[in-house]
Structure formats: structure tokens, C-alpha cells
Symmetry: D2
Subunit: 364 residues, 4 copies
């Protein structure tokens, strides 16, 4: 079963293994005449790139993207956009010892069980390196939506029990944790660094806010905006939960408290609160879309853990290599990219792909 594609109209397929020759994505369903350049994509890829700070993996990848199709003279043609990034700093030899071991918290066991073998080098297909393709596709989605005022914001709002109070989205790219609260960011950075030094790892929560999305986006029963966001975000291996608006804490409220009352102000509908997270019955209300995801602590840690091997024997594994002591900071651009693809897909269901015409009449 084909399972490497995402979306219905704006549909992309990612490909590539962590230590294969390259990773990439083919994006189908891009409207024509959208301006897109390698620089637009590179900007987003640089945000998810390893090696940006000591808080993330030290693998060195320049991650230079190449647009191979679908763009002509700076504009999309309506044909699929194929984007490739060559792998460079793949230290496969470090992975030889895990060829026969199943790392706890990783795909190793289930991949071998399901497929009969696996490309074990660097996690192969289960590596977070797969998200290079998603981020590239998300960059295109952002370019489609930006002229319409739709903006994607994400940031780390908790690391373990350190919780951000503020939502200063402009601060996110100013600190290595990508936290919208600069003072919490500093404490989060210390905690992550301490975890790294003690060969352990931390989890946290990323919040997503979509601004400027008009009402009416999302389908009413199965391709609901919230359901597709939950689906897309849950496809990240480390994500263990997705909330919309009031989320789990909302179950502590009563109906009277939870309902977002409405009123007219200056000819405009106003919701007095946003427990709905900007979505009612799967459809955007015109308010900000708000979602949060739970990211588990990184499974790869440089401590010996008990496990079993491919021969069905008890064994132990200490995951060497260069890993993120906390996945949250690098998850931020990925979350934005996934959300952009979801919104773009639903957006195009409303907008269609209007025929451009030639300026003179066709036969009748």
C-alpha cells in the first residue's frame, strides 16, 4: 500500500533514506504561476538542518536543495515539482553495530518484522531525515498561501516541566530552543544541555498557530481541518498527542464555560473566546487556528539499554552517533510545513485550479 504520500489536491510523496544517496520529494497539484525559487525552499530547510547549535544533532549536512522540475522562469507550470537533496555526512559505519540490534523506542524491530529486512544505516527510511521532503513541500505550500495572508507560527511551549508563559512569535527564531518566551527559552536550553551531558534526552510540547485563515476552510465530516492536522502531525515519529484549542484541559470546563459566544462588532462576527481553536465541526471559523503536539523525549540516547537482537536473544545497545537531545527545536519548522500542506490542500478544494485562458476566445 502506498503510504509515502500526503494530501489529496496538494499531494506530495517523499522518498529517500538517511544514508542513501539522496532524499527528496515530488509535489503534485501545485497551481501554475506560483513564484518559487530554490532560495525559498533553502530558507526552510536551513531551519530544520542539523548542526545549528549544541542543542541539536551535530551531523553536518548543508542540505542544498535542487529543483528538478515544475518551475520555469521562476514560476510553477502546474507540473509536479521535484526537489532533491543529496546526503553528505552519512557516517554509516557507526551504524554497523546496530544492524542486528533493535534500539528501544525506534522503528528497528517493527521494520524488520514487517519487511523482513531494513536499511539500518541511520534509521534508513524511519530517520527524521525523511522530513527534508516535507519541509520542502511545506515551503511551496507557504508560497501558495502567503499572498492570501495566511501565516504559520510554531514554537516550543514546554520542555519537560519548563513552560512558556509568553507567546512572542517573533522571538522564536531568536533563541536556539525556538521558544516564544525568551526567559523560558533560556531555562529550556540549560535543561536540554544538561540532558545531553548526562546522556539522556527530553521531550516537550510545540504549539502551532495559523493566522489569517478565513472561515470556511475544511471539510465537514472526514477531511476536517482539525482531523487532517492531527493526522499530519501524528505522522512525525516522536509525536504522541495532538490537541486543538482547549484540548485535554478543556475537559475540565463546563459547556457554559467552553462555548465561544459570538457577537457582532463593526459588522464583523467576533467570538469572545477561542476554546474551539478556530475550528467548529472541522471548518475554520476565521479565528486563529491553535494546536499543540506532544513530542516524546528522543529515543536515541548514549546509555546502554536492554533490548533484543535479530536472532531473538537478549542483548544491550548504546546508541552512538549524533542525536538531538531534544527534538522540539528542530520540530518547529516541520510542524509549520505539515500544517501548511494540510491547509493548502483544503484551500485548493475551495479555490480549485482556475483555467488561465489565453486572452482570445476558444472555439465554441
Amino acid at each position: 500500500m502506498a503510504s509515502n504520500s500526503f494530501g489529496t489536491l496538494f499531494r506530495y510523496t517523499t522518498w529517500g533514506e538517511s544514508h542513501g544517496p539522496a532524499v527528496g520529494v515530488v509535489v503534485d497539484g501545485v497551481p501554475s504561476l506560483v513564484e518559487i525559487s530554490e532560495a525559498d525552499i533553502q530558507k526552510e530547510l536551513d531551519r530544520r538542518r542539523p548542526g545549528q547549535s549544541k542543542l541539536v544533532t551535530q551531523r553536518q549536512e548543508t542540505d542544498r536543495c535542487e529543483i528538478l522540475s515544475g518551475v520555469f522562469r521562476g514560476k510553477t507550470t502546474g507540473a509536479p515539482v521535484s526537489i532533491m537533496v543529496r546526503n553528505q555526512d552519512a557516517q554509516s559505519v557507526k551504524y554497523d553495530e546496530i544492524e542486528h540490534l533493535y534500539r528501544p523506542g525506534h522503528a528497528d524491530y517493527v521494520y524488520d518484522y514487517k519487511y523482513g529486512h531494513r536499511d539500518h544505516r541511520g534509521g534508513g527510511r524511519s530517520s527524521a531525515r525523511e522530513t527534508v521532503g516535507r519541509v520542502a513541500a511545506g515551503a511551496i505550500a507557504k508560497n501558495i498561501l502567503a499572498p492570501h495572508g495566511v501565516v504559520f507560527r510554531a514554537g516550543v511551549i514546554s520542555v519537560k516541566d519548563i513552560v512558556a508563559k509568553e507567546r512572542n512569535w517573533d522571538a522564536v527564531e531568536q533563541n536556539p530552543v525556538r521558544c516564544p518566551d525568551p526567559s523560558a527559552a533560556a531555562r529550556m536550553a540549560d535543561a536540554i544541555d544538561a540532558a545531553r551531558k548526562s546522556t539522556d534526552s527530553l521531550g516537550g510540547v510545540v504549539e502551532l498557530v495559523i493566522q489569517g485563515l478565513p472561515a470556511g476552510i475544511g471539510e465537514p465530516i472526514y477531511d476536517k481541518l482539525d482531523a487532517l492536522l492531527a493526522y499530519g502531525l501524528m505522522t512525525l515519529n516522536a509525536v504522541k498527542g495532538v490537541e486543538i484549542g482547549s484540548g485535554f484541559p478543556g475537559t475540565l470546563m463546563t459547556g457554559r464555560e467552553h462555548n465561544d459566544e459570538m457577537e457582532m462588532r463593526n459588522g464583523r462576527v467576533i467570538f469572545r473566546s477561542n476554546h474551539a481553536g478556530g475550528i467548529l465541526a472541522g471548518i475554520s471559523t476565521g479565528q486563529d487556528i491553535v494546536a499543540r503536539i506532544a513530542i516524546k523525549p528522543t529515543a536515541s540516547i548514549a546509555q546502554r539499554q536492554d533490548t533484543v537482537n535479530r536472532s531473538g536473544e537478549n542483548d544491550g545497545v548504546l546508541v552512538e552517533g549524533r542525536h538531538d537531545p531534544c527534538l522540539c527545536p528542530r520540530a518547529v519548522p516541520i510542524v509549520e510545513a505539515i500544517a501548511a500542506a494540510v491547509v493548502c490542500d483544503l484551500w485548493l478544494r475551495v479555490k480549485g485550479y482556475p483555467v488561465a485562458g489565453t486572452g482570445f476566445a476558444s472555439p465554441k
Copy 2:
């Protein structure tokens, strides 16, 4: 855009409005030779039926299902199974006054905004009555999976701040709250009844456990088992969050604590814990699948709330009619049904639809 279908191989489409002549579902992709009867479906429909206790809506629907196709002599033929339930106790007149009002927390505003009009009677298509079709489809999925030992369990584990401690799944159908902890169930029932009397409503959390699912079910990147569960469960209008395994609380753990170590016992892989919720990299591990969903307090309450009307004026609405003071108890069979459809869809990707043959050779 078609948005009323769910699944890829095991694929169903629901149809029908709350106060139209009927609701129903067409289930495509059912393997042949599966035993199924109207009684099997009726049993599940009776669990979601209104009017079972004072804790749920008093609308009286017998919800008698009729199998219209796809079953011959008690067994499926491989053709689509069409199931219909006639609507009976539809008091549409009660809804006349909301035709021009947008109830807070409901689909009213976004439906009018998106579609230009709506069948306002009883919520029309946005009514929970749509789930009749899902429960019927889930009954078929359960019949497909039951011979393989796959069992779906769900129960209400919290109502507002009342939390179940126990997981006695056999107790679920013994109390009207459908809580796996009988003592918590009694307190939950009191709280729900009190909310009803004070014209307010409560939310809560439903936990889902899938037992007996072998390893290897789920696709690795986009049709992950956890992602499809999150998608399916989030399509319920009242759901505001989905967690798998450790979920949001899991972000408070370190990697060392969170990783589920493995060992061999009697020739069998054993995971020492199940923070993963039975899913690694989107694929079942062979452990129990564990998920939880947050259900917001019922939006329909018999208190006047501020809102706007179709003319863009400030107005107020008091939602009459017969509503669930807490949606959780009736959500239980629906959650099971959605999970069964997700698992069945992924199961068939692995199993295919083997050709039965005739017992004598075909030409070559």
C-alpha cells in the same frame, strides 16, 4: 471535494441528516465470506442509541437497521454493504427557531458560511446522528477482525475532574457512564446528572485499548496506525485531542524513562513497559494499542447564550430539544467503531483479498 468517506481498502461513506428520512452507510472493500447479520449491527447501534438512561438524550429512536446489499445467505459477497436506518422521532418543529440563529459551539455558523444554507433541523448533517453509519460500519469491521482475536475496548476514564483508577473493561457495559471503574462511575453519574439539572454540560476523556493486534499493522510514513487513529477519532465533532501511549504526560519523562526496553521471555519479545502505546514508527508492536481522546462538554445547553443571527445581528439562543449532558457515554461505541475501521483498513493492506478459487483449475 468528497469528504464523507473513510478508509482506503475498507472504505465507507456515510450519508443522511438528523431529521431527513434516513441515515445510512455504504461499506466498500468488505472481503467476501464474512458472516454478518442485521443482529450484529443492531447490537452495536443499540449501544449508541439515544434514550438508554437519564444521562443521555431522551430522543427516542429504535434505530432499526436494514441491510440492503452485499450479504447473501448470511455472508458477505465482496459487493458493497449498504445499511439504512430510518429516522423516526424527529421533532423538527423544535428547531424552527434556530433556523436563523447560530448556536455557540455548533456547526451552524460555519455551515451557513461555507454552503450558503443548511438543513438546520437537528443539526442536519453535523448531528451526531451521522455516527449511526460509522457504528454500523464498525460492526462489520469487528466481524472481520474478531476471528483473528482482535478486540476493541473503550471506556470513559474521566468526567470533568473525576478520574477512573481502575481498568475493568468488563464493567464498562455494567454502568450508564460506561466507565471501567465502577466506583468512579457512580460519582461520574452524579456529576452528569447534576450538570443536566443545572442546564449545563460536562466533558471527559475516553480511553481506547485494542487487544490482540499482532505486530506489523500500520504503514510507516503517512498511513501510520497512530496517525489514522488520530485522524479518525478527531473527526468526531466534540473531540479536541488525541493521545497515544504516554501522550502529553509523556513529555515530562526523560528518554531513559520513556524508552520501552525489550527482552526475550519464552521465545517471545517482551516490552517491559508500553509508553509507546503499542505503536512504534506507526506500526503495531504486538502490545496493546492504547489511545485517549478529549471530549469537550456538550455545546447544546438549555441556558440562554449570546450569539449572532443570519442577519448579522446580536441575538441570544437557548438550545431546547433533548441533548446529552455529557457526550462521553455514547461516544464509547463510536470510538470502538472508528478504531475498528482504521485497524481493518490497515489489516487488509497486509492481508489483501485472496482469490477463493473454485476447486478446479483455471485455464493457463
Copy 3:
């Protein structure tokens, strides 16, 4: 694998067996605010109805359709439209003797082989009765497209070696053969009646012309207009070939002759010929779309033919019951319906599903 649905945006699923309680269709992806009534659908169903003349099967079905959902106050709501037709004149007892026999040219053998059993009564799911659902869905597609001037024409242009010269589309419903050439129609009728009397059957060719379709409809690589027409039309059991424009005879031309040269006339592009059949590279040119389908002679004939039975023994079968001596006349409305669904699906990809708005501003 789900295989009873057609279309991507305008997507319908048919269900039902020839001698089950009913047949029907659920149409998803219908835009809101389209006017549709049971009378619109009934009009098309009456054209495919059995028993219209001695040239077609004498089975008596009134085929009264019932709209069960998706229409409110005469207009679609954007929700799925469910349509059901109860079966009436199902003489299942006549089919008892073929339960264990495989009729030549029928689905009997392959259904048993694939599924392990079959609803043999009247062909079950393989019966042409399945097309009731398609015709109903096509009626909706026609209503969506009619306001835009898109018109579907079809007619029988040959029966065996009797070939229509004229294309008087208005004559089609004036003769029982549904031939656009009245003089050929008379000879065709005689031939069909003679075949019926001699317990044999005839085949023929149906031509489809789509008028008023603007340029730009159809996708360039895989969802080409011609490819989807070929796909849709070939799903009719009796169809053995599909041609677009010049078709097979076009292979006798040279490139110089075949290319449709263009010129401007009064500010409009004119193609001097239409060997392309109105489609270049899968996309409509603005000319008439022209397709033809080959329909094999009816497999059901009241002559004994050699065959095998379910026990793998040589046997013989004489197909009793009431069958069409030539399938072409009743195929005409079905061909139009399939074409309308294909065009509507591609049309909506261009047009999208614009949000209606409420007349006052949403939050920002």
C-alpha cells in the same frame, strides 16, 4: 479493495444487487445550492428503464427513485446525496437453475472463482441493474453542468453492420433504437427484432458527443479527459472498445492529414477539423468531444450453449429470463451519465467549491 466508487471530487458509490431489496447510489462532492429534484433523476432513470419497447428486456420495473439525503428545500446542501430505488419485478426463481452453472459471456465463473460464492439471482452485482445508480448520479452531474451550457448527446450509430449516416441528435429519443439517423433506425429495429425471434443477440456502436465544453478541462498526464472517459465507459460490462476522435480509423491517415490546423476567425481560435475528438494531451480544446464505444452482442441468449458447472463438470445452459436482444438502446442514457460524471469531476477540479459567505464579515 474498494472498487464500487467512481470519481475524485464528484465521487459516487453504487450499491445493490439485481434481486436484492434495492439498488442505489451515494453521491459525494456535490456542490451546494444546485437545484435537484426526484423528477430530474426519474427522467433519466425512465430512459434506462426496462420494458420500454420490444427491443429491450421485458422486466417490469417502475424504478421509482427516492432522495434520502443531501437535498433541502430543493437544493443540494453540500452533503452526500443518497438515492435509492427499490427492486420490484425480481423473478429470482427463474435463476435457481443457473446457481450451479456458469453462463458463457457472463461474470458467473469469475465471481465464483474470485469470491467463493455469488448472489446468482439475476446476475447479482454484475447485473446491468447496477447502472441505475450511475444514471442517478449522472442526472446530478448534468444538473451541475447544464447552467454552464454543457450538453451530453449519445446515440446508437451502428447495430451489427447497419451504420447510421446522419447525426440528428434530436431524433435519438424519437425511435426505440435511439439512433440519430431515423432511416437507419428502422433497419436497426428490424434487425434487433429478428435477432430476438431467433434467440440470438446483436452488438453495435454508441457515439457520444459533448457539446459546449470550454477549453481547459482535463488533467495533463493521468486524469486526462480522454483517459477518464475510456476508463468510465469501459467499466460497462459489455463494452469492448473505446475510441476518441479519429480512433482506430485514424491510424490510416498521415500526420499531415490528421493534424487539426488552427486559424483565427472573428477573434476566436478555430480548428479546421476535429480528428482529435476535442481533446489534445488530455485537455479539452473547446471543440465538441467525440467518443465511440463498441458494445458486444448480449451474452444472455435463449439457446443452449456448452459450459461447465460449479462442480467442474461439462454442462449446458439456456439462459431464460427477460433480456435485451441488443444492449445499445438502453446503453445510451448510461453512456451520457458516465460521461457527465467524468466531466463534472474534472470540471470541479477547475472550479473548486467556492465558499458562499454570509454577507457579513468573519473574524480576522
Copy 4:
């Protein structure tokens, strides 16, 4: 709308323009543990490669393929297989003059009309160069099916009015026309060469035979084997018709003649004829699958033809460049590839993707 993908389970997406940096394909849904090498794919690409003889275009492309993902140690892993071919001999300058002209019989006009601009160099996305990706995907499909004895044969059975009598499939690769009748092949070659010299072009018919396919492959209503073959083959720009079995000539037969009677021979069902082309009700019968496609004469000819330009003026165009005087010979491997993908997709619906297991037990 995404339209560059083909298939449901075995699903590939092609990308790339004629004169862009590369063309390629991503194949999703490939089972794991299938042996595949670049040599297997290269062998098929070499058959469709330009410049093989004077009967085909003289563009020089070595078409070296590179497998970028999804294969580990010579076997597929279940991950998507990405294949890329760099473009080399792209003489884009020759195409500058057609930037503002619409070549008759080409996509130029409809692409500009639909998309507002186009990559005009070498036809851009509408170039037959897109089929590089399909042939590569087909090579994988053939490798999946070959161990099961399924073999794909195709050959040119007519060029204009020169018709092959013989079906010696082993002769196909022995002559540059790829005709299964060596004596007809010589006459066809002369005719094609004469057309080339007179700056004209020829069309013809390609026949496809699938041998060794067991009964039961194909879905009964919409994903019929014949319908998907028609769909797939009609996606080739030059194809104007598809026939299965008796095809259009079959409409001249009576039912008595057309029905393929059955009998048992040595415990095996035998059909006495194959007018069905190996398919009943969309499902394979176990006989050879037989299809034919009509290929129009090449639209690109080195004669001046009347047309219009992008400014809506009358103009003329003489298509320079290196073109096939007859598309049929190079269509042969493409037809096989498309058929292989269709059959593989339907095959996997029956077979599924069985879980490999590890040899020791999973948790329960």
C-alpha cells in the same frame, strides 16, 4: 488536482520536463524483498531510448538511470523507489521559435490556455520523455510479477494499412518496427522510412498480450482490469482508441458467435475461444489478456502547417527537431510498462503485503 500519479497500491508519480535537468519517477507501494537492479531498469529504458534506428527520433540520450532510494543490498525495502534520469541532448535553442506558436496536434495551445504559460522547450511536460518514468516503474512491476509467470508481450500489428498476420512475439525485438510478423515488418519499415523522407508521419496499432495471468485479477465494477488498461493506455498522448478482445470488430458478431463457450479438459476449465480478451466483468479468466491500441500519426512533421500564435494571430509552423516518423515502435515497451503497472496494482490488491515476521514471537 494531482494528476501525475498512477495506481492505488502500486502507485507511481512521474516528474520532469523534456529539457529540464532530469526526468524521473517515485514508485510507492513496492513490496519488500523484490530483487531489482539498475540493470533491470536500464534494459527497459534502452528499448524506449531514442536513436535506436533511422525509424525513430535521432535525439541522443543515453538515459542512464540512477536508483536513489528504496533498494538495499539488491532488494527493495518497502520504501519508495526513486529513479532519476538526467537529460543530456536537449537542444532547447531549436525550440525558441515555437515559444509563441501552437503546433497542430500538440499540447501547446491547451497548456497555455490552462496554465497561463508553459515550458515550451521540447514540449516540456507533454513530451513523450515523460514516459521514461513509466518505463522505469514498469520494470519494477515486471520484476514483481515475473516470479509468478506473468509475461507482457507487445508488438506493432499495423502501420497505416500494412497489417501483420503472424504473432511471433519472439520476433518483436528482432526488427526495428517491433512487429511480431517479420515479413510485414519489412514493409512497415519501408513505409515509415518513406514517410520520414517526405516529411510526413504514420500511425498504427499496437497489440498487447499478457500471458500467465491467473483468474481472479481485477475488480468487478470500477477498477476492472479492462477499464484500468484502457485508462492507462489512453494516457499516452498519441493513443486514440483501446480495444479489448473482440473490440470494435466484435460488434459485427452475434451473441451466439461471440460467447466463449466453456468445457472441462483434464480437470481444467477451457474457453473454446477468447473474444472476451481474457476478461469477463472486469476480472481475468485465466486466458491470455488481449488488447489493442490505436496510435495516431506523429503530430510533429517538418512541413509548414497553418496555426495561430500566442498573440491570437494566424501564423504557420514547421516543426523542426528530431521526431519519430512513426510512434509505434517506441510505444511497444511503454505499452508493456503501463500494462505491467496496471496488473501489478490489481495483483497486490489480491495478494496484499504480507508481514514478514522475524522468526520469533511478538508480544501478545
